[in-house]
Symmetry: C2
Subunit: 304 residues, 2 copies
């Protein structure tokens, strides 16, 4: 049943997973979450967000989190999210090893998330790219609401491709398609990636799925089958977006790993360690997390 495929999963629980929680997670626990992810085999972690602390107070300690991580895990890519040039400068100063800049594909969400127009956000890529280049860092760009917007509804794939074409001029390391509100279905993913791949053979492609409408695993499979390079996922399935109503968490890392492991899709990650981390994270947050695998356990059951 092996698919002879592999995919690199980026652990985003420390950033996307925690940014919408009511509980303020300590920097020490955020650092522990990254360290547990390293132990599970992750080589890429979105560790922090350099958002405005007044708007996203859960991420106000980004510099302190980075301070506890920098230089301690050789080979670990510590990605910092930036919503603008100011965020990118903070990411460089905090010694992130990659900057993930966010643009948006729909006007109302662009306004609510970053208080800017789609055109301004896309144009801002050049400035962020210059900051990253000057620091010798790769820049990735995430396109939020790429599959649909909670306010504007359908987002035509042509509009997303037009954004991709502009982004490519800034020579990003990867471009990610974010299903911010978990509305995508697999054929959309297949089409998005096919059209994107036709625009560049050098840039890496990434998808970021939320499981809001129970399509996260199916979309992730479709992305792998379409040859996606990276998938974002969140241990425990924690997360959501402060500016997207009814958004739920990213697809749970361990739920993806269960399916991928059983399908023979290689990730290099240890699912049992990720499930342990989900259990620990549930304790930190003081509530159940959405993870199906934490609740159900592995199949076949492993000896304890």
């Amino acid at each position: 049943m092996s698919q002879n495929r592999s995919v690199e999963i980026i652990e985003v629980a420390p950033r996307d997973g925690l940014q919408n929680e009511k509980v303020m997670v300590s920097a020490a626990d955020k650092i522990a979450l990254v360290e547990r992810s390293v132990a599970a085999g992750f080589r890429h972690v979105e560790a922090v967000s350099f958002a405005n602390p007044k708007r996203v107070p859960q991420m106000a300690d980004a510099e302190a989190v980075m301070e506890g991580l920098v230089g301690r895990h050789p080979g670990l890519n510590l990605i910092g999210l930036a919503l603008n040039a100011r965020g990118a400068e903070r990411a460089v100063a905090a010694r992130c090893t990659q900057i993930n800049y966010v643009v948006v594909a729909s006007e109302t969400f662009a306004n609510r998330n970053q208080n800017a127009s789609v055109a301004d956000l896309v144009a801002g890529t050049k400035e962020v790219a210059a900051i990253a280049r000057a620091a010798g860092l790769p820049m990735s760009v995430s396109i939020a609401t790429a599959f649909g917007c909670p306010f504007d509804g359908e987002v035509p794939v042509e509009r997303v491709m037009a954004i991709v074409e502009t982004l490519l001029a800034s020579d990003p390391f990867d471009i990610g398609f974010a299903d911010t509100i978990g509305c995508a279905v697999p054929p959309q993913v297949t089409e998005m990636l096919a059209r994107a791949q036709a625009l560049s053979r050098t840039v890496k492609w990434r998808c970021h799925f939320h499981d809001t409408r129970n399509t996260g695993v199916a979309n992730a499979i479709a992305a792998v089958m379409a040859g996606v390079d990276f998938l974002d996922a969140s241990t425990g399935g924690v997360g959501g977006c402060p500016f997207a109503p009814a958004a739920t968490g990213n697809v749970a890392t361990e739920d993806l790993l269960y399916t991928f492991d059983r399908m023979g899709i290689a990730t290099g990650l240890d699912i049992a360690t990720v499930i342990d981390t989900a259990r620990w994270l549930s304790g930190v947050l003081g509530k159940p997390v959405p993870s199906a695998l934490l609740r159900a356990g592995l199949f076949p059951a492993r000896a304890a």
Copy 2:
């Protein structure tokens, strides 16, 4: 994006959905659940189970439920589940229009679910088939633990196919592959259906997925792509099995409909009505139900 495909969904919430609930749902509410399903467009409903009332007390009022339904919904297929010949006789007496007999693919589960061996259950198909034939009713057969057993672990596809070959001798209307503990992944589904279809071109094929490990939607898509005739699903995602540890509900009907509607897979069902029913059922049960669509709402949002 249309797939030019269609699938017939069988609503199983009245049976599989309620058999494991702590709350005893009244016959009137069970009847109302079926009637709401008819209003949503369903033509096939697994309405009742003729299990031993001492072992599955939630289904003890099967005859009363059927009494409230028989003859009131022209064209509606009222399926009754039978675990043995006694159950099949009760289904006939209660005027079910189809009997769904259950066999099991793994020994330990066969023993716990029906206190019999796999061989005895498979052999019992002949007796149930004779009862159905004498009453002029179609018989379907569900193969439980077809993708894995909570006690015995892996279930080889060859063993399932050997069971299928024996069942075919009884000329069933359909044969269903049940992922009783929600452990299947899509390539298993694809392989199971391809091998089954090679054994008979006349019997209909059905799949029954639980969402225990977040693979229900992906498996259902794989089944449709492989040309499955019927899918079981449960409004609200309610359900579980009294004899399978950590089993959760069937994949939610409305979660399947969201994906299928967006993919252009025709079902003839109205998702908004199903979501309304899930909300009502949550009230009847006095607790949240697993449905993602009930929580998240449709995309794009519909005018109220």
